[in-house]
């Protein structure tokens, strides 16, 4: 029996697709898995693959026509079926092609065909909805938080195997060479503010201020707030700063959740409760188990400069040194001796990693904020940032 080519439902919200292009003509020889047709979905264009090897049979709709999901749109004739009478289109009836942008009359979702055209369903599923991967690859990807979708499988028919996930990880590790950018913050405004800070108020902790300013700067520079997914850095919407705290001879990382929705006051209030030597640290919200950006402030007893490691999955880290007197110049004026904190931004290398320019912009934003602590204090969380845009 000829194998139908289905327009599948690529995701639960997928209702219809436009047929962009037929990639083969009727009568062409096709092999199972060959792309036959390009269709448009809300997000991306997808190729539908041949459900079987044979001859391209009648194409049901011309290019440009919009078709509801779960519709058979062509036949592939198997060996010896050329010229044979075609069966009726599966799923009964004859759905009207929808032209242009008219809404689709979405009747109840039709069940995928069960037996005769089972092959077709399987190969269509491969075309869109699910990555072809072995259980071992899926397991490893889960454990290492690698995005299977981003991998290219080297197994038969492009199947992602464990080794592909491993190599993606190694690639990212190997490319962890980094870019280091450094700048200095004039600390005199903060020191002045701390001097006049009422004792009954929450302590104006420099690390807390730094964490808050970093969060705000990351909201403006999302490229710096990226996770490694399948060997590629992907900017993340949620900002999860990992705060390095000394722990014995090493350190631990507490992940500050809900950073992007906290005001500085709320953060200062929570700051004394920050656990030293445990992770993650949660101020409300669901627990997250990974940092999107690492902040390593070793404080006034630390070294002058700190170039910190990036987190296991984060693309960048910021190290803060102790406050030392340095000659700084503002607005091309003459250099003046100022209390200064060195900020060192380390950016991992690799696909998707931010550029030096993006890093420099982030640092610039950060310096402006830290040199205007009063303004930061008045700022809210993400909403305030949005309002300010």
């Amino acid at each position: 029996m000829p194998a139908p080519l289905w327009l599948p439902r690529f995701d639960p919200a997928h209702e219809q697709s436009r047929i962009l292009r037929w990639l083969v003509a009727e009568g062409d020889v096709v092999l199972a898995g060959d792309p036959l047709c390009e269709v448009e979905t809300d997000k991306v264009n997808m190729e539908l693959e041949a459900p079987a090897s044979g001859l391209m049979g009648p194409q049901r709709f011309p290019e440009g026509v919009t078709v509801p999901v779960v519709t058979a749109i062509a036949w592939v004739l198997l060996e010896g079926e050329q010229g044979a009478q075609l069966p009726p289109w599966p799923r009964g009836g004859d759905p009207e092609p929808i032209v242009g942008q008219e809404p689709v009359a979405t009747s109840e979702p039709a069940p995928m065909p069960a037996n005769a055209s089972g092959d077709a369903v399987i190969s269509v599923a491969r075309a869109g909805s699910r990555v072809r991967a072995t259980p071992a690859a899926r397991h490893l990807a889960r454990v290492r938080r690698v995005d299977l979708e981003s991998l290219r499988g080297t197994g038969p028919l492009g199947r992602v195997q464990a080794i592909d996930v491993e190599q993606a990880g190694q690639l990212a590790e190997a490319s962890n060479a980094s870019v280091v950018l450094e700048t200095s913050v004039d600390m005199s405004p903060l020191l002045a503010l701390q001097d006049m800070w009422p004792e009954e108020e929450l302590p104006l902790d420099r690390s807390a201020l730094l964490a808050f300013a970093c969060t705000q700067a990351l909201l403006r520079n999302p490229a710096l707030n990226a996770w490694k997914l399948g060997g590629r850095y992907v900017p993340q919407d949620k900002i999860l700063p990992g705060l390095v705290a000394p722990c014995g001879d090493g350190h631990s990382v507490a992940v500050l959740e809900t950073a992007d929705s906290l005001s500085l006051r709320a953060l200062l209030k929570a700051w004394p409760k920050m656990p030293r030597g445990e992770a993650p640290w949660s101020i409300g919200g669901a627990s997250a188990d990974r940092e999107s950006f690492r902040i390593c402030d070793l404080g006034e007893r630390g070294p002058d400069r700190v170039a910190a490691r990036t987190g296991p999955a984060a693309v960048a880290s910021l190290g803060a040194g102790r406050t030392v007197w340095r000659h700084l110049s503002h607005d091309d004026g003459p250099a003046e001796l100022r209390p200064a904190m060195a900020l060192t931004l380390t950016i991992a290398d690799g696909p998707g990693a931010p550029s030096e320019i993006q890093g420099a912009r982030f640092l610039e934003d950060l310096v402006v904020m830290l040199e205007n602590p009063l303004k930061l204090l008045l700022q809210g969380g993400r909403d305030a940032h949005r309002d300010g845009q």
Partner: protein, 328 residues
């Protein structure tokens, strides 16, 4: 180190069991003067007499029924099916009676019988004298199914099977009778329900039974030269199956190939694959588990066709290589 053939090892196990326990008796065709179709019972008639080595007419249903009856009345019979194919005639006695009695009578009777089934192809004996039927019995609650692949296991497992209070199907392979191996003189037991890991390897788990174990080990040797490290596991007892070493192995290797001589459809390989897929090894499978088994045809008589119908050394090498090289 003392070496015996598989045949001699079985013979020695029978002698030692009969010496130790007067209730152990043998029932079968041509097991007396002739010494058994494959010589396993040679010398036993002279040693133990016609009262304990009972030659029967050509009636496999009779042999099986007599074994069941003897077992429930307190003896420990060892039946000899001459050719495993003829157990078809004894199925009712074995399956509906022998296997069911212990549970049907709430444990008031025990059925301590062993049925020896010389099976397998490779002798040009064609469709009615070459079958491998082990999985029929794997499907029967109440039976145990044992399949020794070496002389050592033949003796140790037969002694353990005779000790067992349940009906045990003891599947021998005709091509193994002349194979030799180390066999200690004492009456040792190899426990039922325990797999043997013949060879450790990290790339591929190869589960093989009976005759296929030797071929699998040869294949593993050849593949080692290609840098493919094969682990070979012999379940030895198909029911109850000791699946733990298989599951643990697949967790390490991510790849599974099951090889047996019986036909693939409904065969033991499917059981092994199903158990592995449903186990914690699932998350470690990095290729589809494969079966290599007898073709779904009656065993042909022609040597060429017979070899095509039964997994051969080169088939095992080919499939194992394909799996290890990610070609499946």
């Amino acid at each position: 180190m003392r070496e015996l053939s598989y045949r001699e090892a079985l013979n020695e196990a029978l002698v030692q069991a009969m010496d130790a326990d007067p209730d152990v008796i043998l029932i079968g065709e041509d097991i007396g003067t002739y010494g058994g179709a494959f010589g396993v019972t040679r010398g036993l008639l002279d040693r133990f007499g016609t009262g304990r080595v009972i030659d029967t007419p050509i009636s496999e249903a009779g042999i099986t029924g007599a074994c069941v009856g003897a077992a429930i009345s307190g003896l420990r019979p060892v039946g000899d099916m001459q050719f495993s194919d003829f157990i078809t005639l004894g199925m009712e006695q074995l399956v509906l009676q022998g296997a069911r009695m212990r549970t049907m009578f709430a444990g008031q009777v025990k059925v301590p019988l062993v049925m020896r089934l010389p099976g397998g192809a490779g002798t040009g004996a064609a469709a009615q004298h070459s079958g491998s039927y082990e999985n029929w019995f794997v499907h029967v609650p109440g039976l145990k199914v044992v399949m020794p692949a070496s002389a050592y296991d033949a003796k140790g497992l037969l002694l353990a099977a005779i000790d067992d209070d349940n009906p045990v199907i003891f599947c021998e392979h005709k091509l193994l009778y002349n194979t030799r191996g180390h066999v200690p003189e004492e009456a040792y037991r190899e426990p039922l329900g325990v797999s043997r890991v013949w060879r450790r390897g990290r790339d591929l788990t190869l589960v093989a039974t009976s005759m296929m174990v030797a071929l699998a080990l040869e294949a593993a040797d050849q593949l080692a030269g290609e840098g493919i490290d094969v682990e070979v596991i012999d379940p030895r007892t198909l029911r109850p199956l000791d699946e733990t070493p298989i599951v643990e192995s697949v967790i390490r290797t991510g790849r599974l190939l099951v090889v047996h001589e019986a036909v693939e459809t409904g065969g033991f390989g499917g059981e092994v694959v199903a158990r592995v897929v449903a186990s914690e090894a699932f998350d470690y499978l990095d290729a589809p588990p494969l079966r290599l088994a007898g073709k779904d045809v009656p065993v042909p008589q022609s040597e060429v066709l017979e070899a095509a119908a039964i997994p051969q050394f080169r088939d095992i090498v080919r499939d194992a290589r394909k799996l290890a090289r990610n070609e499946v």
